[in-house]
């Protein structure tokens, strides 16, 4: 198995990594960078629990892509959403609206949800549904997940204007 040097920036931190041909981005995030929030599920792109965001803020299934393709790239994982010790608006919305149950798929669902609002700050029903097509959550039936995504902007507004209770 050939080895390659890969420089990968995860949540703003840059890592110099030695990766094998067969290592996926998911393997590297979990085993080399040692961030366990990105979950291992089917590893064949059907369950969505390994979702992360690329530099453009788009959803990427980390189990389906080789790590060596990510040399020089920047990615964001679930651990990278907090800023200044505070949870991100989407994370807060998920808690408040009860969009979390067993929590195993939650990191992947939140990264998918972030990708939706990155592209459409106040998404329509269709945009939310399209963005959630890659995940399935038997606990919540995605109903409160959608509610949280619809209301995420409310939490963002709080942070931007400083009018929220957290300030």
């Amino acid at each position: 198995m050939a080895k390659h040097l890969v420089t990968l920036t995860v949540n703003g931190d840059t890592y110099d990594l030695v990766v094998s041909d067969n290592q996926t981005l998911l393997d590297v995030i979990r085993d080399e960078v040692n961030l366990k929030g990105t979950k291992r599920g089917c590893t064949t792109g059907s369950c969505g629990v390994c979702c992360i965001n690329n530099a453009k803020g788009e959803a990427v299934l980390s189990c389906l892509t080789h790590a060596l393709e990510w040399d020089g790239e920047e990615i964001t994982t679930i651990e990278g959403l907090e800023a200044d010790g505070e949870l991100d608006a989407m994370q807060k919305a998920f808690i408040e609206y009860g969009a979390v149950q067993c929590g195993f798929c939650t990191p992947g669902v939140i990264m998918s949800a972030r990708a939706i609002v990155n592209a459409h700050p106040e998404p329509t029903e269709e945009q939310i549904n399209a963005g959630l097509a890659g995940v399935n959550c038997r606990c919540t039936g995605q109903i409160k997940v959608k509610e949280a995504i619809r209301e995420d902007h409310r939490f963002r507004h709080k942070r931007e204007t400083g009018s929220g209770t957290q300030d």
């Binding site: 198995m1 067969n22 961030l35 366990k36 929030g37 990105t38 979950k39 291992r40 599920g41 089917c42 590893t43 064949t44 792109g45 059907s46 369950c47 629990v49 994982t77 679930i78 651990e79 959403l81 907090e82 949870l87 994370q91 807060k92 998920f94 808690i95 408040e96 009860g98 979390v100 149950q101 067993c102 929590g103 195993f104 798929c105 939650t106 990191p107 939140i110 269709e126 939310i128 549904n129 959630l132 097509a133 399935n136 959550c137 038997r138 606990c139 919540t140 039936g141 995605q142 109903i143 409160k144 997940v145 959608k146």
Partner: protein
């Protein structure tokens, strides 16, 4: 070999708890914390990726374990050669049946097949290696010589005369044949004005929890076994594993930090747990086994194929008097107590209808399919889907509104069921009236466009099932720390249902504090008191009562100092809003945190630690049942057969809503899962091979397919539940299934659809047949 039982009506007196109060009083108590929308206490960890699941556990020196599984449904193993695998650098152990010795799984099945394999996916050998790739390579190097044997892949084949015997000894492949006869069945049918008969079949499913099967084991020291795994019952796992490995219960530590969904699929130990333990014992290093994508479908033990025949006796006025049900259940290659779930499924009917007679026959049939066990909603989902559909279609035949039939037959508070169950609280009729009004049923039913339907389902669910498990005890400890922070210690797993937050809310109510000032310690048998686990909808009522008792014990300890300090009688004290004060003189008050500090740092140094336990006062069964009514509205595409669920109105008598936010979440998930199983979910196989072993091909609803859901939480304040609470665990899914199935049938003009899932091709078959009949009718005219 087959087990045969026949049981008549049991002694009813055993199932009635002592109760002196007044039924239906719905005692009004002023509550401060209960009934508020409380976000999960573990929310911040779960949304930030901090929550640790078994696969995230990384122990020093840990090896990767992999299992070699049978490629044949039935074959003799002529030889196993592991020498090449053992020689591969990086391989630390290769084990087979010889290494498992006398150890078996639950006394039912071998850990590894030795001379015969009886299903595809059966465990034959396992390896532990430095990394996953090496372990996989080693599996490829194990050589097995098989001699294929004839296999039976369906119940129909298995029951045929002369069919090969799946386990070589069970006559006719009937693993169990149980009959229960409650009340007077035959007289009820003889006296009936109408007898309706239908057949119903349900297909194979997967529990589809998000977290795959995984076990991380450290058994590197001979007297200490630690197992990290998702589970619904750590304490029953201890009971299974300790004797198998010659350990005491306390030498087995089960850690389930978080459980990524269960849906009735994590109630037992499975071969992979034993294999990980054997590999760790062999290598004296920690071992992790993690199921890969399609392996997950092979090892999952959800529902197999189930077939029902049912007869219903009815009087002219619409009174339902008796059911006679026969179920055939595919147990797969290993006989299981799936018959018990068949019993529950039949019995459910006597929890909603005041029947004169109920007969249930359940046969568990062995086949060379995957061993089956239980799915979300169990057999109760499929039987209720059939029965509710039957009642909805029958109503049309006798020119009655199904809503009226449901209402007229619904049991009421104080009713005694056929097997002796006594229903101390019951809001079934209130639920029916609620959804009837909310959905505008009276103005809409029967008046919708073609291929557009409405259906009503009702149902009930027992909160707890004492006697189904080794024991039924729940114990809870409440520790009040120096700074006034209260920690709840519980052994009940939270696999998403939110039970840890429920327990915190109950304790917070008793101590008058904010649940956000609390911690829950759970998921580790070394730390928490005993709890038999989270199944049979027992959490809220059993563990909830234990939590309440533990909180009351802690409060009692705190009143000693408070009563003296405030110079009031201790029975006069109120704990509320973070304060402790006298009911008679509210200005005599102190802060909860001050009280805790002073109690601890007083002369005696009283540390406050409450303990509580609960075990149902009955010998068997439960004291409390939830009830529900739901209406579903669906639209069917006559060209494709595709069903769209537009809306579901849900009214559920849950006793008391401890945390309405979590209750709504339970409703969402169960409507989703009911809809998924009624319309979509089906493991497809060809000669035992899985054709759709992934979440792309095994269809479940996507967010755009979810209906709008209206929630109505009906509080009947059960006299036995903590603060009157019963359950909202699987009570919803059973009723949703009935409502959705009935709505599809209504959309097709009242035709009974005897197959589940109602996949487009099946629905289309019914549409085409109806269209052909209509065309033939026109031609004849």
């Amino acid at each position: 070999m087959a087990r045969k039982t026949e049981i008549g009506t049991p002694d009813r007196s055993r199932r009635r708890p002592k109760f002196d109060g007044e039924l239906g009083s719905r005692e009004k108590i002023d509550l401060d914390v209960i009934g508020k929308r409380q976000p999960r206490l573990d929310g911040p960890e779960k949304v930030s990726g901090r929550s640790v699941f078994a696969d995230d556990v990384q122990l020093p020196g840990m090896l990767c374990g992999k299992i070699l599984r049978s490629r044949y449904a039935h074959a003799r193993i002529l030889g196993i050669d592991t020498s090449r695998a053992e020689a591969l650098p990086g391989v630390k152990a290769v084990i087979t049946a010889t290494d498992a010795g006398e150890i078996d799984v639950n006394g039912r099945e071998p850990v590894f097949a030795s001379d015969v394999v009886t299903y595809i996916g059966e465990e034959i050998a396992a390896v532990a290696a430095l990394d996953e790739l090496t372990a996989e390579k080693a599996l490829d190097l194990i050589e097995i010589e098989y001699e294929e044997l004839p296999a039976v892949m369906s119940m129909r084949r298995a029951l045929k005369e002369g069919a090969p015997l799946v386990d070589g000894k069970t006559e006719g492949n009937v693993w169990s044949d149980d009959i229960d006869n409650y009340g007077e069945v035959e007289p009820a049918f003889e006296a009936a004005d109408y007898i309706f008969e239908e057949k119903y079949e349900a297909g194979v499913t997967h529990n589809l929890f998000a977290e795959f099967h995984v076990a991380v084991v450290d058994f590197s020291l001979p007297d200490k076994l630690t197992l990290y795994t998702p589970t619904q019952t750590s304490y029953l796992m201890q009971h299974a594993l300790a004797p198998a490995f010659g350990l005491t219960l306390s030498q087995v530590q089960i850690i389930h930090l978080n459980t990524g969904g269960a849906f009735s699929g994590r109630g037992s130990v499975r071969p992979h747990h034993y294999i990980a333990i054997l590999l760790s014992r062999e290598t004296r290093r920690p071992v992790k086994i993690f199921a890969t994508g399609d392996e997950e479908f092979l090892v999952c033990r959800a529902l197999g194929e189930n077939k029902y025949k049912m007869r219903m006796a009815m009087k002219k006025d619409g009174t339902i008097t008796a059911f006679d049900m026969e179920a055939e259940m595919d147990g797969g290659a290993v006989g299981t107590e799936v018959g018990y779930f068949g019993w529950m499924a039949g019995l459910c009917n006597s929890w909603v209808f005041p029947l004169e007679g109920l007969r249930m026959r359940r046969r568990c049939v062995l086949t060379n399919n995957r061993p089956n066990f239980l799915g979300h909603g169990g057999l109760m989902l499929s039987t209720n889907a059939a029965i509710m559909q039957l009642i909805n279609t029958v109503a049309k035949k006798i020119d009655r509104d199904p809503m009226d039939i449901m209402y007229q037959n619904a049991i009421e508070e104080g009713h005694t069921g056929l097997s002796g169950e006594w229903f101390a609280s019951c809001g079934l009729r209130e639920c029916i009236e609620t959804v009837r009004k909310a959905s505008d049923w009276d103005n809409r039913y029967g008046k919708l466009e073609p291929y557009h339907g409405l259906g009503i389902g009702i149902g009930s669910m027992a909160a707890g099932a004492k006697g189904a498990f080794r024991h039924d005890t729940s114990a809870v400890m409440v520790r009040v720390s120096e700074d006034g922070i209260v920690t709840v210690y519980t052994g009940i797993p939270d696999m998403g249902q939110g039970t840890h937050t429920t327990m915190a809310v109950i304790v917070a109510e008793v101590l008058g504090i904010d649940p956000n000032d609390m911690k829950v310690v759970a998921g580790d048998t070394d730390l928490t008191p005993i709890d038999v686990g989270a199944f049979a909808q027992r959490g809220t009522i059993q563990t909830g009562n234990a939590a309440r008792n533990a909180a009351l014990d802690a409060r009692e300890q705190l009143t000693v100092y408070a009563a003296g300090k405030l110079e009031v009688d201790k029975d006069d004290l109120v704990f509320r809003g973070g304060k402790v004060y006298a009911q008679s003189a509210p200005d005599k008050l102190m802060n909860f945190k001050d009280l805790v500090y002073k109690t601890l740092h007083g002369k005696e140094g009283r540390s406050v630690m409450g303990r509580g336990f609960y075990n149902s006062p009955l010998q068997f069964g439960t004291t409390s049942w939830s009830f529900g009514a739901q209406i579903a509205e669906v639209k069917v595409d006559p060209d494709t057969g595709e069903v769209q669920v537009l809306k579901v109105w849900v009214a559920h008598d849950l006793g008391r809503a401890i945390n309405p936010l979590a209750c709504e979440g339970q409703i969402d998930g169960q409507v989703y899962s009911a809809m998924s199983q009624i319309l979509y979910e089906e493991v497809q196989t060809d000669a035992g091979l899985y054709l759709n072993p992934s979440r792309l091909e095994y269809k479940v609803p996507r967010s755009y397919e979810m209906p709008e859901i209206d929630y109505y939480l009906i509080e009947t304040i059960d006299p036995f539940g903590p603060f009157g609470a019963k359950e909202i665990g699987e009570g919803i899914i059973v009723v949703s299934g009935g409502a959705i199935a009935a709505a599809v049938s209504d959309a097709l003009g009242g035709e009974f659809i005897g197959e589940m899932p109602m996949a487009p091709w099946r629905v289309l078959k019914h549409i085409k047949r109806a269209q052909r009949q209509e065309a033939a009718g026109r031609t004849a005219a």
